[in-house]
């Protein structure tokens, strides 16, 4: 058989909303507290307690809805999703089912080849997170920590619009960028603040009907998502080409073995018995509330990128890179502000180049950079005013990164100031020419390429400090025999 397969992917992203307190109770949401110290009566599902909705959670969901051009539902309803599990204290999860707060949005993603694609967002709904099961050291028992129970989640459900693992990753990164721009989620994937389930199916190219899908649960890094989807696609194609059928099921990705395996098959099909939660009333959102939230929307990634192209003359690629994270964009803009828009390209190159490389090396986020935007701007200002060359600047940057001193202090202490005095440069040129009579003769005989050799020698003797433009100029004259020799 030789068939062409098409992959179809939809993602359900769970973003923990960055509120102080839980969605339905006044318990703290801070990560990493001692077990069950942030689980209070409402979170524990104690007899008699009742939920009351956090305003901030609604505001954040509306903010997200507006950012993806969705409809914000004027009336949305909380429902109970009933199932028994130890991390779910009440035996039901409060979620939104038939009437979610955000409906029908979309988001544009940029692929590696620069192509753009729009992914539909079916809905985004509010719900409460569950607790955690810990499996070690309890002799046949699991320990349950309910600190996370009741943390607000925004579940963002995409249309099955993605056709490859790379597209899925690009979409997830885009959402990741967006929720951080909006300051509604810290995006911390290690801590589980941002995670995703992927619905994956394959079908023959040209076929309209979707294939049977499998859901891969709890993917919490961009790398795993790509690997898990690729693995799952290969598995499904193998099964079908081997004459088998895909069973609709939930699978778990095992990064150690790079494979997905079915979750222990539930003893029965899930029947969640959704019904409207009688303890909560319909959430009515007035237009004035939506307008207020709209007024607080920050500049979004696409808008920022467009502005960088227009105001700073950056290439679309550079603008896209620098706006992919709000923090990076802010850093870059602070450098430009200090340096002047005329030098935006220089700032962009340094932020994307040396700074980014150093951050990567040390595993740092830009917020933890050893060189602040003002410090970098001060360094670049010395290039602009020709105190140092770009090459020397790299050396200064490394020194700044290592010991935190200012650019000027390092330039001063190491005597790296560029030599611009024509007399001093001529003196060096004379030395070099005197020391290399053979090369001089060859050059004068027509071997133009030796010019580079002389430049290199002059720079070497000057310790790299001679102004390159002046060296070029003066050397040319001297080699041609003009001026004294």
């Amino acid at each position: 058989m030789n068939m062409e397969w098409e992959t179809v992917i939809g993602l359900e992203i769970h973003a923990q909303l960055a509120t102080r307190s839980k969605i339905f109770s006044g318990s703290a949401t801070a990560y990493g507290a001692e077990p069950n110290t942030q689980a209070n009566l409402v979170d524990l599902g104690y007899p008699g307690v009742l939920p009351v909705l956090n305003r901030e959670v609604v505001r954040m969901a509306v903010k997200f809805g507006l950012a993806v051009g969705a409809t914000v539902a004027k009336r949305s309803v909380f429902a109970r999703k009933n199932y028994f599990y130890p991390d779910l204290p009440k035996g039901y999860q409060i979620s939104q089912y038939e009437l979610p707060i955000v409906q029908l949005g979309k988001l544009e993603i940029v692929l590696d080849d620069g192509a753009r694609k729009t992914v539909g967002i079916t809905r985004a709904h509010l719900e409460e997170d569950a607790g955690k099961s810990l499996h070690e050291n309890f002799q046949g028992y699991s320990g349950i920590d309910l600190n996370r129970a009741g943390t607000p989640l925004l579940e963002i459900v995409s249309e099955p619009d993605m056709r490859s693992a790379k597209e899925a990753v690009a979409y997830m990164k885009r959402i990741h960028t967006l929720v951080r721009y909006l300051e509604i989620c810290d995006g911390n994937m290690q801590e589980g603040s941002f995670r995703c389930d992927a619905n994956v199916s394959v079908r023959q190219k040209g076929q309209e009907k979707l294939g049977t899908r499998c859901e891969i649960k709890n993917l919490n890094s961009f790398r795993f998502i790509e690997k898990a989807i690729n693995h799952e696609v290969a598995r499904q194609i193998d099964v079908i080409e081997g004459g088998g059928k895909i069973r609709q099921e939930t699978r778990l990705y095992d990064p150690d073995k790079d494979e997905t395996r079915p979750l222990r098959s539930k003893e029965e099909a899930n029947d969640y018995r959704y019904f409207p939660d009688p303890d909560l009333l319909p959430v009515i959102i007035e237009q004035s509330f939506i307008d207020q939230v709209r007024a607080t929307l920050p500049e979004l990634p696409d808008q920022k990128a467009a502005r960088f192209v227009e105001q700073h003359g950056l290439s679309p690629y550079d603008a896209g890179t620098l706006s992919a994270s709000r923090e990076v964009g802010d850093y870059y803009e602070a450098v430009v502000a200090a340096l002047g828009a005329a030098h935006a390209k220089l700032a962009a190159n340094w932020v994307m180049g040396d700074l980014s490389a150093s951050l990567n090396n040390d595993g740092l986020e830009i917020s933890g950079s050893r060189i602040g935007a003002a410090g970098l701007a001060a360094l670049l200002a010395r290039i602009v005013d020709e105190t140092i060359s770009g090459k020397i600047a790299k050396e200064v940057f490394e020194a700044m990164w290592a010991d935190g001193q200012s650019a000027d202090a390092i330039i001063e202490a190491r005597g790296l100031k560029q030599i611009t005095d024509a007399g001093a440069i001529e003196k060096v040129i004379d030395e070099v020419i005197a020391a290399n009579p053979k090369q001089l003769a060859d050059y004068r005989a027509g071997r133009d390429k030796l010019f580079g050799f002389f430049v290199g020698q002059v720079m070497k003797v000057s310790g790299g400090k001679a102004n390159p433009a002046q060296v070029n100029d003066l050397l040319k004259k001297k080699l041609q025999g003009q001026g004294s020799l």
Binding site: L41, Y46, P47, G48, V49, V52, N82, R273, P278
Partner: protein
């Protein structure tokens, strides 16, 4: 002293005729003597009661306090009470010490009320005879071989037997009014949202409402006023000022329109009960009311509607009882499923299981629309019927229960017959309306209740109408033999 009303006890304390400690000791003594035959209390909090009474006496001595300072009452064991066993009459919660107070309990504490103890009830408030309690049935003080009604049967028996001067109750389908009727008490279930449900262990969240069982309408006005009001911990509680219900008790009834609910006088209503209810209507006529017959065509569907909605909500509300964080947990579970199914199977009684299973079924895939959504729609029709009626009349009047108190064990084997006890009371819960029951006569020594139903937030009008009736009649003053 034990035949005094709340208002009478309050006046006595204020006038220093007796202290709160003396009243409290008197009732604790009666509980000790008389409760064993009645089984009205699950827990008696004697030490705490005496401490609260002593504190109240100090407040009174300092010339402070309000109308309820130092007055003892009992709480239905569905209300969470901080540091006190709170069982909901279930084996499931037979070891549960609540770490917090229900809002109702807190408000009454703040008003200076003394808690005598926690009263028996149907398990998780599911029942109409108080026979589903894990702590055994409650006996009706009017005839110990008969039921006191339910689910607030312990509260009703305690007040009727004058071993507590008043008690709280909850009413999901008639659980305050039906026992009040069967024990010759005044019982009121206010408008849904009037009394906070925080800390009231949920049976059916969209129907449950707290209220009181008292000796007369004046006491009901006093106690209800103190426990009502907005609570920021209950999203369904209504942010509306609570009027002083005692201030309007004496308003004349001249000119009010009273609707006679046609559907309440059909088959199933005992003739003797009907005739007493009709007598009561004549009293209202004499008081100046105009009687109008009104029809609520969808009302006969209220019992089937209730037996979809209430079990559906209960099946979900009771999922939290899983043997992990509180309550009964089975011994040596062999795996997770075993922990769940045995803790719940052993912890819940037969009626609770029956309702959980009914509710699970009506919410399950393939049945949700036919049962649950259908019931929600009929609920809307019933609510609309009431709305139309209240466009014509101020109050609706009819019987509270179709019969007087029945023999213990008479209906336990037939759930449908048992469910039909609430045929007249359920409508008010479905529509969220305030409703009350007041004694209107006796048949062969057994009390009969008159039910008054009002539009939303018409508690003051209901209490006024009840009080005016009680100025004309003596039924509410009768005390069962042996308890005077």
């Amino acid at each position: 002293m034990h035949t005094l009303t709340l208002a009478g006890i309050s006046a006595g304390i204020k006038a220093r005729r007796f202290s709160s400690v003396e009243v409290t000791q008197h009732f604790l003594g009666r509980i000790e003597r008389l409760n064993p035959a009645l089984n009205a209390f699950i827990t008696v909090t004697a030490d705490q009661a005496l401490a609260q009474a002593a504190a109240a006496d100090q407040v009174v001595a300092a010339g402070k306090g309000g109308p309820l300072t130092g007055v003892p009452i009992a709480h239905k064991d569905i209300f969470c009470t901080d540091g006190v066993l709170t069982t909901c009459a279930s084996k499931m919660l037979s070891n549960f010490v609540s770490p917090y107070d229900a809002t109702v309990v807190r408000k009454l504490k703040e008003a200076g009320v003394v808690m005598l103890g926690k009263t028996n009830m149907d398990e998780f408030a599911m029942g109409s005879s108080n026979e589903t309690s894990w702590y055994g049935p409650v006996k009706n003080p009017w005839d110990l071989s008969r039921v006191p009604g339910g689910s607030s049967g312990g509260s009703a028996a305690a007040v009727a037997a004058r071993i507590a001067p008043a008690a709280t109750g909850t009413d999901t389908g008639g659980s305050i009014r039906q026992p009040a009727a069967l024990t010759a008490l005044t019982g009121i279930k206010p408008t849904y949202g009037r009394v906070s449900r925080y800390g009231m262990i949920a049976y059916a969240s969209s129907l449950d409402q707290g209220g009181v069982l008292t000796l007369n309408a004046e006491d009901a006005a006093l106690l209800l006023g103190a426990m009502s009001g907005f609570d920021e911990r209950d999203s369904t509680s209504v942010d509306l000022a609570v009027p002083d219900y005692t201030a309007t008790l004496n308003q004349p009834l001249k000119g009010i329109k009273v609707g006679i609910l046609k559907e309440f006088f059909g088959k199933g209503l005992e003739a003797t009960t009907e005739s007493l209810v009709r007598d009561a209507l004549e009293v209202y006529e004499r008081l100046g009311a105009t009687l109008v017959e009104v029809s609520l065509p969808n009302l006969p569907l209220s019992v089937p509607t209730y037996y979809v909605v209430a079990p559906a909500e209960c099946s979900s509300n009771l999922s939290r009882f899983d043997g992990v964080r509180f309550g009964y947990s089975c011994a040596e579970p062999k795996d997770l499923l075993d922990l769940y199914t045995r803790s719940r199977g052993e912890g819940f009684g037969a009626e609770v299981k029956r309702r959980i299973m009914t509710g699970t079924y009506v919410l399950s895939a393939g049945y949700y629309d036919a049962y649950y959504i259908k019931a929600q729609k009929v609920r809307q029709l019933i609510s609309d019927d009431f709305k139309r009626a209240f466009a014509q009349v101020d109050l609706l009047v009819g019987p509270t229960a179709p019969t007087t108190a029945f023999e213990l064990g008479a209906k336990v084997d037939d759930p449908i017959t048992m469910y039909l006890n609430d045929i007249y009371t359920i409508g008010a819960n479905l529509a969220g309306l305030p409703a009350m029951s007041i004694p209107c006569g006796f048949v062969e020594g057994l009390p009969v209740g008159l039910q008054l139903i009002g539009p939303h937030f018409a508690e003051a009008k209901l209490l006024n109408a009840a009080h005016q009736y009680q100025q004309q009649t003596e039924w509410h003053r009768r005390i069962p033999a042996g308890y005077a």
